[in-house]
Every structure is written in structure tokens, then in C-alpha cells.
């Protein structure tokens, strides 16, 4: 089908897989193996606006590219913030970046958390481990517009106290009277004065009205399923629970096929899904 009969050499339209240059402004070590990067556009184009829950593809020169959730404040028009744990070849390279280094970045991609839909309702944010990173933009938005929401709760679990992210910020959030922050760890040294136990154990203990609650959950897949079950047990309907899924991802734009989960492309139909829509797929092994 010749739609452009006279074409000879056509300059490439921007390829959705071509990154834009960003400069590392700051690297902060959060925990033993987790780092937060602040990035700024290096070509003067500014940073693309994003919605809480979306992710970018971050390219480290010569090492490769990985999806990373955006963890900064959507209202900050200047900086892109990512938190990553050093687990693979590319994320290890990301954790070795220094301020002034350049990375490639494309995005944002994926579906957002339902912050708008949560207006007028209680909001329960449940995070496991590094799952707090993609939920932090939600917390920023809830607190920035605090009067718009009912009770606001953050339930956060990590393996040990040393794995707790954003400790200073958590302390600040905890000091607010209009924000309930509950933290638990799987195991702790004797000096730990907080809760010990998996994150689901906190769900019955915090106050919110299940009938008018929107829950946003991010963490390991098995944790999200048990959290959702606990929330349902308290009376939160499946269609008001949201989770964020993870799969292998090479393109983020629906071309590479790697991130499929049944009919869903995690990259474009997710990563944030309404639980009632994704739950049937989660019970099938190796789907």
C-alpha cells in the first residue's frame, strides 16, 4: 500500500524508544542497596509531566535500560526522582551514578494511581519494601490537598528497620495529626520499638471506613494479594483496591511483548490495575 508514493528519504519521526538526555543532580543512598536519583533535563526541554504511579525507562550508557517508577512530587515541575534497588546489571549501574553523570530517559508510561477518584473518600496506601517508591507521589498529592480526602493512612512494611526508605520524610509525615502512618518490619533487632510482623497484620489495626475507602497497594506480588485479601476481609470492595504490577519490560510502549499477563500489557494497560480486573490472572501459576 503506497501511501507516500514520492518518499525517498524520510527523517525519522521521534521513535518512542529513543531516550532523551537527563543529568543526575543528586544521588542519595536510602538503604544498604537502595538509592534515590534526582534527574534534570539536559536538553532544555524540561521534564515531562507525569501522574502518580507512572514510570520511566532509564538508560545507563552502555549498560542498558530498565523501567523505574517515578517517586517524586508531580507538582515539582523541575526534577524527576527515581528510587532503585541494586538488583540487576542495569540497576547496579544506576546505583553507581554520580552527580553530573548523564542518563537517557523516556516516559512517562503506564496508568496512574486513582488519586482523583479517591477524593471525598478514605485513602489507604499500603507499601511493601521498595513498593513505597511508586506510592510516594500519591502521598505528596494527598497531603498537598489534604482537605479533599477523608482519613489518609499509610501502612508500610519492610524486612528490617534498615530497609525503611525515606526515613526523615516518614518521621515528618508521622508528626502530622491528619495522616496516620503505620510501619512494621518482618524482623528487627532488640532496639526496634515499632511493630514486628508482616504488613497485613496492621490492616485490622488502623482506623478507616471500609465502605468509603480507596486502597492503593504496591509491593511484591504475593504481598499485594494477601493485602488485598485482608482489605476485602475488612470490607473494602475489590473494585476500590488498586495494585501495581511488575513484569519484564523492554520497550514500555506495547511493541516488545515481554510484559504480557494474559490479555494485559503491564506497560500500557498497567502498571496500576484495579484489583477486580487483574485478580483472576494472579491465581494462575506462571501466567
Amino acid at each position: 500500500m503506497n501511501l507516500m508514493p514520492e518518499n525517498e528519504v524520510m527523517p525519522a519521526a521521534p521513535h518512542p524508544m529513543a531516550p532523551l538526555p537527563f543529568r543526575v543532580q543528586r544521588v542519595r543512598r536510602e538503604t544498604r542497596d537502595t538509592f534515590t536519583l534526582e534527574l534534570q533535563s539536559a536538553n532544555g526541554a524540561g521534564r515531562p509531566s507525569f501522574l502518580a504511579g507512572q514510570f520511566n525507562m532509564v538508560y545507563v550508557f552502555g549498560a542498558g535500560e530498565v523501567p523505574m517508577s517515578i517517586t517524586g512530587d508531580p507538582a515539582d515541575q523541575d526534577t524527576i526522582i527515581h528510587t532503585t534497588r541494586s538488583v540487576g546489571m542495569v540497576s547496579q549501574a544506576i546505583c553507581k551514578l554520580k552527580s553530573g553523570d548523564m542518563v537517557g530517559l523516556r516516559g512517562p508510561f503506564g496508568t496512574p494511581w486513582p488519586v482523583e477518584e479517591a477524593a471525598g473518600k478514605d485513602v489507604v496506601v499500603v507499601a511493601g519494601g521498595i513498593g513505597l517508591a511508586p506510592l510516594r507521589p500519591v502521598v505528596y498529592q494527598l497531603l498537598a490537598d489534604r482537605a479533599k480526602f477523608g482519613k489518609v493512612v499509610l501502612i508500610y512494611g519492610t524486612r528490617t528497620p534498615a530497609d525503611i526508605l525515606y526515613q526523615k520524610e516518614l518521621a515528618k509525615w508521622r508528626s502530622r495529626l491528619d495522616f496516620r502512618v503505620a510501619v512494621t518490619v518482618d524482623r528487627a533487632p532488640a532496639a526496634w520499638r515499632g511493630s514486628v510482623g508482616v504488613v497485613t497484620t496492621l490492616i485490622p489495626k488502623v482506623s478507616f471506613d471500609p465502605q468509603r475507602t480507596v486502597a492503593m497497594v504496591c509491593g511484591p506480588e504475593v504481598m499485594m494479594r494477601f493485602v488485598a485479601r485482608e482489605l476485602e476481609a475488612r470490607g473494602v470492595e475489590k473494585n476500590r483496591i488498586y495494585i501495581s504490577m511488575e513484569r519484564n519490560m523492554k520497550c514500555a510502549v506495547g511493541f516488545c511483548g515481554h510484559c504480557q499477563l494474559g490479555p494485559q500489557f503491564i506497560c500500557k494497560d498497567g502498571a496500576v490495575f484495579r484489583y477486580d480486573r487483574i485478580r483472576p490472572l494472579l491465581g494462575i501459576r506462571e501466567l
Partner: protein, 389 residues
């Protein structure tokens, strides 16, 4: 009824000439290494003149025909995705100077390619890949340029192969859309000609440049009976009734274990499939480390790497990979792109080294449908889920 013309075999070379004069690289079937593959054609002599193919599960053989047909065979191991969605594509290059990185997108000439001998199933396959790369919120500009520059000469199949089932998938054997020109080859005694039909103004324009005459009704009828005969000859069939729900409901069917005991996870089926589109990316650097390139390469859901996330592969078993491939092709594709991902070309059957036949797998699952409700089952208890963490 669209107008039909008769193009004599003796004048067929003019078609290649007209395409070349317009700057097209003419690509079509040719014999190489005992198979009919798609490659550049210099002249009609490069076509598999007088050859046919015999196909069965895990078997492909070329045989001599008793005539000098140009298109007397079905499809081989290649498909047009090789040219529209090539096995390896460089997406961009990056250069590092000090702390700066300069990323240069691939500048590409929109290639003018004429595909000669595109079968009906392949037209369907191309339109299916169009949906993947052009139909979503993101467009692949490299695919778009190749696609828009392509001139498609369809050939209606005069015979069906033993692994063909396009009729079941409503994807053939007659080309009904998506071509610039469509031909039906007719050989009768000493007569050898093509019934030609233009599908686009450009196709019409090119047809007008060739020696031709209007077709008689009888010739159009002859072509019609060839199409009908081919449709009756399909070596395989699939009952597609409710196939999406059938496969979704049978995710835990014991047949997947059975097929896994035969499947080598070699990925042949995905390589020969004209609609399989999955790719991976490869980053390469030069020895100095200052020049990097990103390549997009065909990938297969049959590899362990395909579903790897930190901690392991989501689909670690062959069973889960075959199930992913077949349910994607025949079921979830419908949810994703509004049509089946299968066009019934039969390549995955022919080129499977152990002759796994998806039409047979569907038949067995349908006959022993367990309706486990596994897609909706409450399985939180005692199931450790798919997460390898």
C-alpha cells in the same frame, strides 16, 4: 464487481520491470537451500518456476510440478515480517564525550519494497502487525516507513498445503483486501495466464503499464472455481467457536503438560509465525566504551529470559511458555487487538521439529474442556503465585 484483466505469463516479466522502473526493490519467493524463501528477484526466472512444496507436521519438501507454474506452492519458512519488521533493527546510537551523551536516532530511508506473491493469509498477517505497530497509542516510525513504502502483489493460492487452515481463520485462500494488485494463476493446457485485479489506484496504474486485456466472464469464473477448490483442500481445520473463552477457561488443562513433554521450546514456531512480533533489545558498545548502539531483535516467549524479572523467570516451565504462545495467538490477541493472532498459514506446524500441531491441541482441549473457571477462581489460598521473588 471490480474489473479484472488478463495478464499473459509471457508478459509477466513486465510487472517486475514496471516495479523496478518505479524504484521498487522487488522481493518474492525463490528457491534456496531446499526451501522457498523470500528474497530479491532479478527476473521471473528467480521465481520457483515449476516447483511445489509438500508439507506436514515437521516436514517440508520441494517437489517438481508437472507444469511451469510460477506460484504453484504455498508458504515457506519466511514471511513478510522479515522485511516489514526485520529480525534486527538498530534503533539509535549514542556517543559519550566526557560526561555528555549524545543520542542519535536512526535516520532511515523509507525503502520502496514490492512484495510479489503475498498470499491471503499473509495479507491478514500484515494487517495484524499493523495493529501492533501502528494501531496503538505509540507508533513505530521505522515500521511505518517500511509499511507505507511497500507495494503488495497478492497471489491467490491455487492449492492448499497439508498444514494450511486459513479458511478456518477467515484469512483466505482468496485475497480480499490490503493488496495493490491481486493475481490468480491459471494454467490450462498450453494456456498460462493471470487474472489480475487492482486494489489501489497505484495498482491500477501499474497494471495499465502492462500488456493486458479485459477478462472474459468465463475466465473470472475459472479463477473463482480455483479459489473454491483451494478452500476445500485445507489440510487442517480449527473450530474457532468461542475459542477465547475455551482457552481462558482451560489454563490448567492437563493437555499443557502433555504438549510440554513434546515441546523443545526451540522457538521455531514464533520465528516462522507471520504475526509473532515480540522483540528484545540489545545494547552494544565499542571497545573504548564511548559508542553504544541499541538494537531491537526478534525474541520468543519460549525462552527463559523472556519473562525474567529479578529473582527468576515468571514462566520457568515449557508448559507455561507453550500455553502463553498458544493462548496469546488464539485468545488474548482477540482482547488485545480485536482479532485472532493466527491466520492459519500452518508454518508453526510444518516447522515444528517435533510436529506439534496447534489445531490438534485446540481440538483435544475442546474435546476435554475442563471449564475449571481458573480465570475467575478464588486461588489465594495455598497458591504461591507467579512471582519469583
Amino acid at each position: 464487481m471490480p474489473e479484472h484483466s488478463i495478464l499473459q505469463r509471457a508478459h509477466f516479466e513486465q510487472l517486475l520491470g514496471a516495479l523496478k522502473t518505479r524504484g521498487y526493490r522487488v522481493i518474492g519467493p525463490t528457491v534456496r537451500d531446499g526451501a522457498i524463501v523470500y528474497d530479491d528477484l532479478n527476473s521471473t526466472d528467480d521465481l520457483p518456476v515449476g516447483w511445489t512444496d509438500e508439507q506436514e507436521g515437521g516436514t517440508y519438501r520441494l517437489k517438481r510440478r508437472g507444469d511451469a507454474a510460477l506460484f504453484g506452492y504455498v508458504v515457506g519458512p519466511h514471511s513478510w515480517k522479515r522485511f516489514l519488521h526485520p529480525p534486527a533493527v538498530r534503533l539509535w546510537q549514542a556517543n559519550r564525550t566526557g560526561k555528555n551523551i549524545q543520542i542519535e536516532e536512526e535516520k532511515h530511508a523509507a525503502p520502496k519494497m514490492a512484495f510479489l506473491g503475498v498470499r491471503a493469509c499473509e495479507l491478514h498477517a500484515i494487517s495484524i502487525q499493523d495493529k501492533v505497530f501502528l494501531g496503538g497509542s505509540f507508533v513505530d516510525p521505522l515500521y511505518k516507513a517500511r509499511r507505507e513504502g511497500a507495494f503488495l502483489v497478492a497471489v491467490n493460492c491455487g492449492q492448499a498445503g497439508n498444514t494450511c487452515f486459513c479458511a478456518s481463520m477467515n484469512a483466505g485462500p482468496k485475497a480480499d483486501f490490503g493488496f495493490d494488485l491481486a493475481l490468480t494463476e491459471i494454467i490450462e493446457g498450453s494456456e498460462h495466464y493471470f487474472l489480475a485485479e487492482a486494489g489501489t489506484p497505484l495498482g491500477e496504474e501499474i497494471l495499465q503499464e502492462l500488456e493486458h486485456r479485459p477478462a472474459e466472464n468465463i475466465e473470472v469464473e475459472k479463477a473463482g472455481s480455483i479459489h473454491e477448490k483451494t478452500a476445500q483442500q485445507m489440510g487442517r481445520t480449527v473450530d474457532t467457536t468461542g475459542i477465547k473463552d475455551l482457552l481462558y477457561a482451560n489454563m490448567e488443562h492437563p493437555r499443557w503438560d502433555d504438549v510440554a513433554s513434546r515441546c523443545l521450546a526451540c522457538s521455531n514456531c514464533t520465528m516462522v509465525c507471520p504475526t509473532c512480533f515480540c522483540t528484545t533489545v540489545e545494547d552494544v558498545t565499542d571497545l573504548k566504551g564511548d559508542h553504544a548502539e541499541r538494537w531491537q531483535k526478534w525474541d520468543s516467549c519460549f525462552t527463559a529470559d523472556f519473562s525474567y524479572i529479578h529473582g527468576g523467570s515468571v514462566r520457568s516451565s515449557t508448559k507455561s511458555r507453550y500455553r502463553q504462545w498458544m493462548t496469546h495467538k488464539l485468545a488474548s490477541w482477540i482482547d488485545q487487538f480485536g482479532s485472532s493472532g493466527c491466520v492459519g498459514c500452518g508454518r508453526c506446524i510444518t516447522w515444528c521439529p517435533v510436529a506439534i500441531d496447534l489445531t490438534e491441541e485446540v481440538r483435544v482441549i475442546r474435546a476435554t474442556d475442563i471449564r475449571t473457571k481458573s480465570m475467575a477462581k478464588e486461588t489465594d489460598d495455598g497458591n504461591t503465585g507467579t512471582n519469583p521473588r
